[in-house]
Amino acid sequence: MSDIENIQNTYLAKVEAAADIESLDAIRVAAIGKKGEISLLLKTLGKMTPEERNVQGPIINGARTMIADAIAARKEALETAALNERLTSERLDMSLPAPQSHSGSVHPVSQVMDELTEIFADLGFAVAQGPEVEDDWRNFTALNIPETHPARAMHDTFYFPDKDAQEREMLLRTHTSPVQIRTMMEVAKRTEGKGEPIRIIAPGRTYRSDSDATHTPMFHQVEGLVIDKAIHMGHLKWTLETFVRAFFERDDIELRLRPSYFPFTEPSAEVDVGFSVEKGKRIIGGDRQGKEGGENGGWMEILGSGMVNPKVIENCGLDPNEWQGFAFGCGIDRLAMLKYGMDDLRAFFDGDLRWARHYGFDAHDVPTLSGGLSGKGAAA
């Protein structure tokens, strides 16, 4: 064995034994560094005869390559081992909880109002609004409810001691119907009495001095109004059917119109919706039967409606011989309860966070017609 071979083997053994990058580097410097043993040997080649060089050159260069390769391989092995060690030491318990983001909620009444707006937008209804502190002319008189009318007593009205500039008594609106009056008057004014077709819904807060398990002094209603030239009760029935089916997201809902009386509509009808009973809960729609014994299905009153009384149209400054149409009114809180299964109206206005998290809606659950109003998508 030549000296070079000995040197080579000695370094290869050292490389193999190097425990860390630092000692490996020291070996590299000692062997193939600028003044390393092999590097110095390489420099001797220049002084050799060509014949000697032909023999010694490949041997010394071969030794250098072998050592350099061995160092590289050893370095990679050491680095891999070091990385593995680091990774092992850096282990985290990923089952530990992450910082929580706070998710808020949208109140079911707001959600239902958005749903209603969406349904009626598709039918061409705009959203109208009016004040909640109203005058008695718009809340009652213009709606054909004169002061002495028995129907006035049926509304438990909150009054203010105040009167407005026209000496009208101020009150909290008992229904959203004064928005009908405001809308028709605005149209009459804008068109100088000529009139134009109207399609609006008016959701909002309403008030009656009533408080028990199923009544709160403040509640929500939605009003609908269509005024045109050839609108009749058939259109009313279709609109209500379309609305109720769209809202409850099923087609097997039956509607029943019953004659009734509201001073502001003539003819008037109360509207019942068919319900079935499933798992002890009333479900709107279906075959109006009970599923597993117990209570049977039937009819449930959900809204009042009728053809706008010609006197009301006249009171707003439009010609009742030219314009006619229908109106309806419906409790929003009740719609929410029937659709989403809350059974306590009072909880709507309590602000209990636990209730809000259970019955509220995610901010991004915006009702759309394509996604299904409640965001469930199309049936499979």
């Binding site: 002495t148 259109h235 003539e266 966070l353 901010a363």
Partner: protein, 795 residues
Amino acid sequence: MKFTLSWLKEHLDTDASLSEITEKLTAIGLELEGIENPADAMRPFTVAKIISAQQHPNADKLRLLSVDDGSGNNWQVVCGAPNAVAGLVSVFAPPGTYVPGADFTIKATKIRDVESVGMMCSEKELEISDEHDGIIALPDDAPIGMSYADYAQLDDPVIDVSVTPNKQDCMGVRGIARDLAASGIGTLKPLTLPEITRSGNGPDVRSEDSEGAPAFFATTVKGVKNGPSPAWMQQRLRAIGQNPISALVDITNYIMLDHGRPLHVYDMAKLNGNLVARKAKAGEEVLALNGKTYALDDNMTVIADDDGAHDIGGIMGGEKTGAGDDTVDVLIECAYFTPESIAKTGQKLMLTSDARQRFERGVDPAFLADGLDIATALVLEICGGQASAMTKAGNAPSERRSITYCPDHCSTLGGVDVDSAVQVQILEALGFGVDQTSDAWTITVPTWRRDVVGSADIVEEIIRIKGLDMIAPVALPKSVTVAAATATPVQVLERKLRRTAAASGLNETINWSFISEKEAALFGGDWVLANPISEDLKVMRTSLLPALLSATKRNIGRGASSVRLFEIGRRYFKAKDGSSDEKLTLGIVLSGDKTARDWQSGKSSNFNPYDAKSAVENILSTAGVDVSRLMVMGDAGPHYHPGQSATLRLGPKNILAAFGALHPTAQKAFGIKGDVMAAEIYLDSIPLPKSRATMRSSYAPPSLQSVKRDFAFLLDEMTEAGKIINAIRGADKANITDARIFDRFAGEGVPDGKISLAVEVTLQPRDASFTDEDLAAISDKIIASAAKLGAELRG
């Protein structure tokens, strides 16, 4: 309105079943409220005879009865009634029977060690009367074993319908029968009016109040004998929940229920002088039949004699002059009171009665004499006596109204095509006259249908009798405009902000619009209710915070550690013209933990005023407001901590929002422990997009990279950092795109009363990269701008 099936059949000839009748009632607008058959509860009770009665071995006052109920068994019953003697025919209830008057179910039991199977019943136990001294004694020939329900002819279902305020005619059984007959459920029986033998002049009654009581009819009947009314009348009254009182009173009640015609009977012995209908004198008092005294005003109508007012006309009779057991001579009043006047009086006195309900809807003005005749005949028949002539003072407004009606209105308004002949048939059955001589019919309205005033009412009559289920749905014509927005910009804004707030972790609440006066003292209030439902709900809010704070308190009380609430609702102000000025507002309350205690930090953190600011800025940004351009000013309001609150304004007077820490006093007033952050965003102040154009200004991202430079300034601690930032941003608007504070420090190395503020400025080159000279020049401008506010660059 309640009535029994047999009562209905007095007026209606029909073979229809009960369910056909009740379904039809709802279908024609007389909504069925309930149906009940008193016989159902009485079916287990049977007519039974006491065969023998022996002394109970262990009790002096008890007897052992052997009872024959016709079943073939003789039952042993222990009974304490003194009249329970052998031979008595009474009513027996076997074990398992529910006894309504005592509210329990009979069980076979032992009484003082002796077996007792079933019970003999008193009238009270069967809810026939309050009689409870002994068991029922039936005639000896009462058939043993017959169900008591059949024996007492109780099998007469009671029907309860709700009558809408327009349907005065259906406040009497006959009107209901007429409606049912028109709907094809039977035939209305003709009304046979009685023949009355009269002698002597009618009583001297008159009306001095032609507005409130235009007609006052009266008859006297002398020599009557008052007492219990006949069994058939008592049974009907009782079935519908009226207590029989005496024959004279029951007769007037019966006619009111039968014909919707209220009457009143006076004991002539208790009257002094002639009866007159007149306006009350202001302050005049009447002791009414309900035992209460009412002070009247001079718009109210009374019936009075020389002694004064006795009767609140058309609403309630007087205590002093009514008929009693010893009444001999009576005067029967049948008057017409003006509906509006009755309504006003009733509302003012807050007094309801069966008479008021009918008069204020408007009784049939053509049925005074007939109604009085029917009453007089019943008094004569039941109580005897001699009737006088009838006095007819004044006239009720009984002209029949005429309406022009085109039969196709039924389809153009009602949506139902009804054959003309059928329309005529329905109208005539309801009592309308139909003149078809021209295409536009002339309809004559019956006197009992005051509510029918126009063609639309005629349509209603026809379609309600025909059935609203005849209406076929017809699609609304599709609106002409395509893709037009139906919500106003404000509504769109409200929806967007609601969902932004919810997405940022806030929970939406809906709170009462009214607050207490105590809260209003802190927050203000323009509208105070005259008749609040409670003192807590009295003043219309001018801030959303009180209700949110109350909700926060409730949530903390329920153990919530972190409360993040919001509401979008109105604040209520009074406009100069006395109308309502309602401002849509978003309110926020943050309280408790901002972050909960966790394993990383080991502790929780609280909300601070900057969290309120962050929430507000986040929401305003969504609303399209450039938050960096808003003015931060004071005057958030007295309920905020004066040093930890501010307003955000678009201009000096345009406040978009107020936010900050709640004032400790307000916090204490709401009983909340721990810091509370609050904010209100005034939606009506937020500018709405002026243009509906969808096109945006053109933009291409710059190709050159932005450059960041840090500056540190020393400034007076009272100098607002926001102003420094604004000054830096404004120092070179062409090049400076942002300036952010990344450190704020006071203490070691910083002189007293000063702070050190470190700012990172972002510079955006446009056409060419910045040269060192460019950067030096921008830097100089920044330092100079800051220096104007007294900030000096730290070395």
